[in-house]
């Protein structure tokens, strides 16, 4: 090969680099190791994490069974090692699955159109806000404090340099739902969107129709956020939402210490050209056969550059495929039954405790650690190989005496009994 190129050695190929930039010593990294040693290294790290614990954490990442078929499908090289489907003729597999994904998200959320994924729920929410600003021509956004705290932090980071003021409105102390009076007070004609999460961070089904009335009454859009996708198996999708921004990690995406996950944005037909992210559309080939392709690409960065609806390029395609397989395996009946199991488990646990809020909840709820601190309760539970709920003090100082507990179809009755006991 060197002969063909016409050089004496591979080093000659770098000779043209300026002397000043050339590395004079090797990288300070150990020599490479074999496949077995790689597995050994990571197995050791895995052992340093929790193993064999029952976990009652939710708060934006959920423990759900992962049907075996999910990894079977996504491990196929044709899905795992393929590229973005820009060349439609040799990507019909990926394009078809994305089209089905978009469809299923619409069916679940009641929206008209869904994109092919965002990085996660938090950035989906930030991008939804930016979308509402574009669609309404207004600059300001109102977000509920009962929206996931890290999602609100991300929104702040994204909005800071775009002249998009973000203001928060509170929640009602007894019910744990949004404070409609506070929202109404803060609402004005400059507001592009009102953002509400349901079930909210406290697990509670929130007041979407009432929020919609206030938002729409002043010409703003309602953005509805979800972090627990399984809730869509049983909760009525919001008919009032203009944009839905959500996290699909519950759909067979392993918790994996926080990522990669899959966000998604779904909306009404009229806002489709304001959507960020890839979209797959149906068309025909030259023989008249149905085919799929990426479409409405003029919204995106590779064409519109600084005027694009977003800077997103690489998305979370493989995770969206995991979610698709999950939705296929559970199907119409299964997703409902799964949601019912979650409801049953969480209400069994809450029945032995006193939830702090009286609002109706799905599979998460807040409990006060009367007499002790949440940390103390969790410490005791750890000794029984149980990871307890999330102490809320780090996000809500007024709830420092409480923790957020989550029970899913994976939670076992004996473990829930131990948790309940720890609060006595």
């Amino acid at each position: 090969m060197l002969d063909v190129i016409g050089v004496g050695s591979v080093e000659d190929l770098f000779a043209h680099l300026p002397e000043a930039v050339r590395l004079k010593q090797p990288l300070d990294l150990p020599a490479g190791i074999s496949e077995y040693e790689v597995v050994e290294y990571f197995s050791a790290r895995a052992a340093e994490n929790a193993t064999g614990y029952s976990c009652f954490l939710g708060a934006g990442a959920y423990n759900h069974f992962r049907p075996v078929l999910v990894d079977t499908v996504v491990s196929r090289g044709e899905f795992l090692t393929s590229y973005t489907p820009y060349q439609a003729e040799i990507s019909q597999g990926t394009l078809t699955t994305i089209f089905e994904f978009q469809t299923m998200i619409c069916q679940l959320t009641g929206m008209d159109v869904a994109n092919a994924s965002m990085y996660d729920g938090s950035t989906a929410m930030a991008e939804a806000a930016m979308m509402a600003v574009r669609a309404t021509g207004r600059g300001r956004v109102l977000v509920a404090r009962s929206v996931h705290p890290e999602y609100r932090a991300v929104l702040r980071t994204y909005s800071e340099n775009q002249g998009m003021p973000v203001e928060e409105f509170g929640y009602v102390a007894e019910a744990g739902t949004i404070d409609l009076e506070d929202l109404d007070r803060k609402m004005d004609d400059l507001t592009a969107a009102v953002i509400v999460q349901s079930p909210n961070f406290f697990g509670i089904v929130d007041q979407l129709p009432a929020a919609a009335e206030i938002a729409h009454g002043r010409g703003a859009l309602l953005i509805v956020v979800f972090t627990e996708a399984v809730s869509l198996g049983i909760l009525r999708p919001s008919a009032e939402a203009d944009i839905v921004a959500g996290e699909l990690q519950s759909f067979a995406i392993a918790p994996s210490y926080g990522g990669p996950y899959a966000g998604v944005i779904a909306t009404r037909d009229k806002y489709v050209r304001q959507m960020p992210g890839r979209l797959v559309g149906q068309t025909v080939d030259t023989r008249g056969n149905r085919a799929f392709c990426l479409t409405l690409a003029t919204r995106e960065q590779h064409i519109r550059r600084e005027k694009a609806t977003s800077n997103i390029c690489t998305n979370q395609a493989l995770l969206a495929l995991m979610a698709s397989v999950f939705m296929t395996v559970y199907g119409k009946q299964g997703l409902r039954e799964l949601a019912e199991q979650n409801l049953a488990k969480a209400h069994y646990l809450s029945g032995q405790l006193r939830p702090r809020f009286c609002g109706k909840f799905f599979n998460e709820f807040v409990v006060k650690a009367a007499g002790r601190t949440p940390d103390e309760i969790n410490k005791a539970l750890l000794k029984k190989k149980i990871i307890g709920g999330l102490p809320l003090g780090r996000f809500y100082p007024e709830l420092a005496d409480s923790m957020l507990l989550c029970a899913t179809e994976m939670s076992r009755r004996p473990d829930m009994d131990v948790v309940a006991e720890a609060f006595q």
Partner: protein
């Protein structure tokens, strides 16, 4: 090819003035350059536009081309045909596929635009 009663811009828009209303479109040269047109993004009626400033855009599958207002004024009407049939911009850019109507705020601006003959010469030189 290029109607005598239109005036043209170097950005390949045309305007036909009747009284104080200017009807605006893109030229045949523009639609050829763009290829198959898939969408026209037009300003809402009531919007004010300034001569030379962007007033919407026209899209093909792989490219976006800004529309520059040939004259200043207020948009009174946008062509309803284009929402469902953007391909008309390829088929009949000087007729059925007009983009919008503008109530002129400075009719003297027309003087700065090219005549059909001047525009024809301009695009020939561009080649």
């Amino acid at each position: 090819m290029y109607p005598e009663n239109f005036r043209y811009t170097k950005e390949h828009e045309w305007v036909r003035v009747e009284g104080d209303i200017g009807t605006i479109g893109i030229t045949d040269h523009a639609q050829q350059e763009l290829g198959d047109i898939v969408y026209a993004d037009l300003p809402k009626p009531g919007t004010s536009v300034a001569q030379g400033a962007t007033a919407g855009s026209v899209e093909s599958v792989k490219a976006v081309s800004d529309i520059y207002a040939p004259v200043s004024g207020q948009v009174t009407e946008i062509n309803p045909v284009l929402a469902d049939a953007p391909e008309k911009l390829n088929e009949d850019p000087h007729g059925e596929a007009w983009l919008m109507k503008i109530k002129l705020s400075a009719p003297a601006e027309i003087g700065k635009l090219l005549s059909a003959a001047e525009y024809q010469k301009y695009i020939e030189a561009e080649k």
